[in-house]
Subunit: 347 residues, 4 copies
């Protein structure tokens, strides 16, 4: 796999806040990310899919509460676990991301993970998010297994996050270009302490003409990636926002609701069929800080990391040929950079 | 299996509205119900679980919209599919009910059902509801399979509904007594037409002392079914409310929100861990009637059918011995009837 | 005004939990209640209305957060302030209850109250709840003034709460009988501490035949209070639930959602036009206790106090003649007690 | 008042969709807009406020349903009427916009308006939206009266909409610059018919550095309008989205939820204290069209009109000096145009 560079490696900045060590969700202490990509066969039954997991903390989450919230931007999607997160304000499992039709298998994987940690478990709330990779992936063959989820959890680690085609990103595309997993982070001060906001997205949305990078209407200037068999579609989008700031579920819900603003900054209109969901969590379960205007910097960080993570999901992805030979090209970074320079956005 | 009689067969009435032909959700035209009960082994790995499906209409629901809504009474549960029902106001699959840890397998089953109807499907929103039968069932062995869901759909039919231990009801208990599936229906007039309201519940909630039948505090007078290994717990509860009245998603949501009132009438307080969810649907997708006070009779029907369905779920269930020999006794109907007669509620 | 006795003074108990000193919302430390009843003129322009305020804490609430939540049971109503309570989880003013058309004037009154405490205020979120007293009150004359709200706040006190026709209760009726303000409290243990749950209701809902007291279908046995000009209607209902347990906004929302179960216990079906709203608050802003099954006793207390408060709102109200000579009779307590004795509910 | 030109008059386009005749919400048939600006006194008690009303249809709305929905982007605000709009999916009054502390008086004005149309009214749900103009306006003096609302309704008309400082816009500012009322419209095809999407905003939000116009980071290049006494703040924002497409309440809610994306396009992050609310309505109450991907063009229209309306609210506003001599300058359009030309966004 060709390794492509992230947006920031090309000198593109998003907002004014400082980034974390790896500019990734794993900059939030304790957070690890694991992924299993499935790439097999060509033709009608090509498998181009995978699983990505965000693990909030080592060990069972059933015995150590992780404050969390969720937000539905556009409910045309099939997530699992959101009702209980909303009611209780905590998550009990890693968050798994995968292909739409494979949510059930991912659910089963998270149940098995809870049971291997504690065989006495009789109730657990698996959180599964999905995007539809049916353009490249023979999703009806249900290639993702519960064991893939366990493997993704087992290989989860801190440090740099695999982006683009990694894990669940294998079969995703955005604005007509190959996309997938992306991440970014910011370091902020709130309530007299320093904290990190880290976002990881699985990006699979957007019409070609709508793509906007750092305010430049890139989608209007690039040759269209759309073809008759890939006219572009509304897609879907899911994100995990994590922090070590001591925020409670209600406050985390406020963070989650700012993700839509980050999507808008890359040109997303939240299409009819675009299931867009966010889970926000804090690895710190101590007393929440009160809401104050200082929270605005946290909101800025959520929007900026969302925007950057989406762009990273495209910058790092490479072209993939999948079902029936359908190819989704990679975003041509050269022309993008040229346009940004012409527009004075990039030096 | 001993067939026990429903509440109404003992002369117990619930409210003043007339009941449908079978006093069941299947009195709503097109609605069919199917169930597969799994009962195998004794001891540590006893299987006492199953699947019940409510099928709104024959054939694929993806090609013929079924207006629907959902409501979360208490979100401590693991349903699938509710976000999209909320966003789009329709359901795309039969509604499957099963054991908590088996939601993923039921999800897979509904995906397979959609695919066998139309192999071109790349996105479908399975609706799965669950209660926790871990008291009687070795739920960690994940005994429910996707094929069980397909079988339940295949055997779904109109007419009388199997109640008590049938299907997903096999391992459930309420107020310390064996319960499971229950159903009831009412015939009402709204918006110048006659229509049916049918409710089916999977009942698995309630502390022994709280049980109330037709206003009588039965739970305070029966010998307690609780034992040290079964102290009673908050449980969980799911319901499907169906009608052929031309109500849209917003209006169906209003029906769904009245189910809590029916639960209260049998003494339910909606406990902390009791995941309580409702899906309401209409088999008629024509123009909605406007909200008017005439809607109140529909609301009465929802409350009355919920109350009666819960009582039926107990009256029709028989004692079950499950995991490690744990036995949940059946509700002793004789003493209940005696109390109701003493209280003047029953002739 | 004839003083009538509360339900418990007649020996009627609701649930098994111990009651607070005054069996009222004022048993929660710091909580005070004030009311101004307006009763003037007869005939077409008869004024039968008022204001009741629940004051969570002395002094400005803008400088000392009061955790709070709200819940909409049936949104056919005109409350003010709920959106911000939902977003921020706190209340900033006393909670005012009044006549539907007078919400604007009550809003103005709460703004003036905030300004008299601190003239520098430029933003404050008044919380106003309402029921429709148009059956007895010439509500279109907008008789409630901002000054009435200030007066109600000024006279708020702890100790016994004026029920029935007091304050906003002056023009309300339920199940065809005169009702109004009612209250009740319970003492519970949760999270290793003792706390009080106090509920105050403004009750204005229910069809005559539906009235149920302690499970007895009183409404089916009393001579109907309905007349051709007062056929009974769905009405409306608002409640304030207060506690000194250290619960946060999310948890208080869970309490608020149990109020519907209490309404059901007196026979309420939540009618189409019945605006039913709940605000729950804690006077203790310290760290929240985690949700646990121990919370169930708190939920029981919410349901039981709601039920008892509604019954008190009728037991304590006396007949009122209002607009155009319309009279709403008081609930005939004698026959109610007789029925409860016949049913074995009352000794 | 100096008349300033709208963005489009300077050649700035927003998206690719065609605009309506007046590029305003009044392009939607039946919709009229009225405003009353209050500008009196200087110094400590300067009045700089007003009322703007959007009237969906002539005559009483109580007798002819107007489908509607609302959406809370950030609930730190004091709107009235949203709960009932959410429950019933219709509005019953014009939508009034005004100063935060004056919501009660606007509520009273809408009640009086309903009563002058029909003295038999006993219940009506006034919809009032607000932003905080306390920076320029002596809002604690509560200068807005119920009569101002009646006057705004009386003078409501179709055709061009007064923008900038008009009506409720008199005391508002955004990104440190004077703003207020703005509007825009688009003509789209959906469900085999042509329809108009019109948006009207009351804009009062944003930190100076965040301002973005057509993707250009204008706020980073203009000299900051902030001064020590006006450091900029999160503000608030309300919008009305109207259409003549036959969309029902659920669908209108989907439109309302896209407004956040339009806010993001001018650089808004949805600040902590920024109460951001949307009401969407259809003047066509016929059967709703089904959701389909064709709806995406409608969503684009919502985002584009929101963006353009916000920019118009600034382009059309002129500097205002208010309380204690505080001046909010007008956006310097020349430098903005220069930057847009340098960036290649404007010819």
């Amino acid at each position: 796999m060709v390794v492509r560079q992230r947006a920031r490696d090309h000198g593109i900045a998003f907002g004014e806040l400082p980034v974390g060590a790896h500019n990734a969700i794993t900059d939030v202490p304790d957070i690890t990310v694991g992924s299993v990509a499935l790439c097999a066969r060509d033709g009608e039954h090509a498998v181009r899919t995978g699983v990505t997991v965000v693990v909030p903390r080592p060990g069972s989450l059933l015995t150590a509460e992780v404050p969390a919230a969720c937000h539905v931007i556009n409910g045309h999607g099939k997530p699992a676990g959101l009702a209980q997160v909303h009611e209780l304000g905590v998550i009990e499992t890693p968050i798994a991301m995968t292909s739409t039709l494979s949510v059930g298998d991912a659910f089963r994987g998270l149940v098995l993970d809870a049971l291997r940690r504690d065989p006495a478990v009789r109730s657990v709330n698996p959180v599964v998010l999905e995007c539809n990779d049916g353009l490249l992936n023979d999703s009806p063959s249900l290639p993702v297994t519960a064991e893939d989820v366990l493997a993704a959890i087992d290989e989860a680690r801190s440090g740099p996050v695999a982006e683009g085609n990694a894990g669940a990103g294998m079969g995703m595309s955005s604005f007509g270009w190959k996309s997938g997993i992306g991440s970014a982070s910011r370091v902020v001060r709130y309530a007299n302490r320093e904290g990190t906001i880290g976002t990881l997205v699985l990006s699979n949305f957007g019409y070609p003409r709508d793509l906007m990078i750092r305010g430049c209407d890139v989608g209007m200037h690039l040759p269209s990636p759309a073809t008759p068999d890939r006219p572009g579609s509304a897609g879907s989008f899911v994100a995990v926002v994590a922090t070590d700031l001591p925020l409670d579920s209600r406050q985390l819900g406020r963070l989650a609701r700012r993700v839509q603003s980050g999507i808008a900054r890359v040109g997303g209109y939240v299409g009819n069929t675009s299931g867009e969901f966010v889970v926000a969590l804090s690895v710190t379960s101590s007393s929440p800080a009160h809401d104050a205007d200082g929270l605005d910097v946290v909101f800025h960080a959520v929007v900026d990391t969302t925007e950057e993570a989406i762009v990273n999901s495209m910058f790092c992805a490479t072209a993939v040929t999948g079902v029936n030979g359908t190819t989704v090209p990679e975003l041509p970074i050269g022309p993008v950079l040229t346009l940004l320079r012409e527009r004075g956005v990039l030096a």
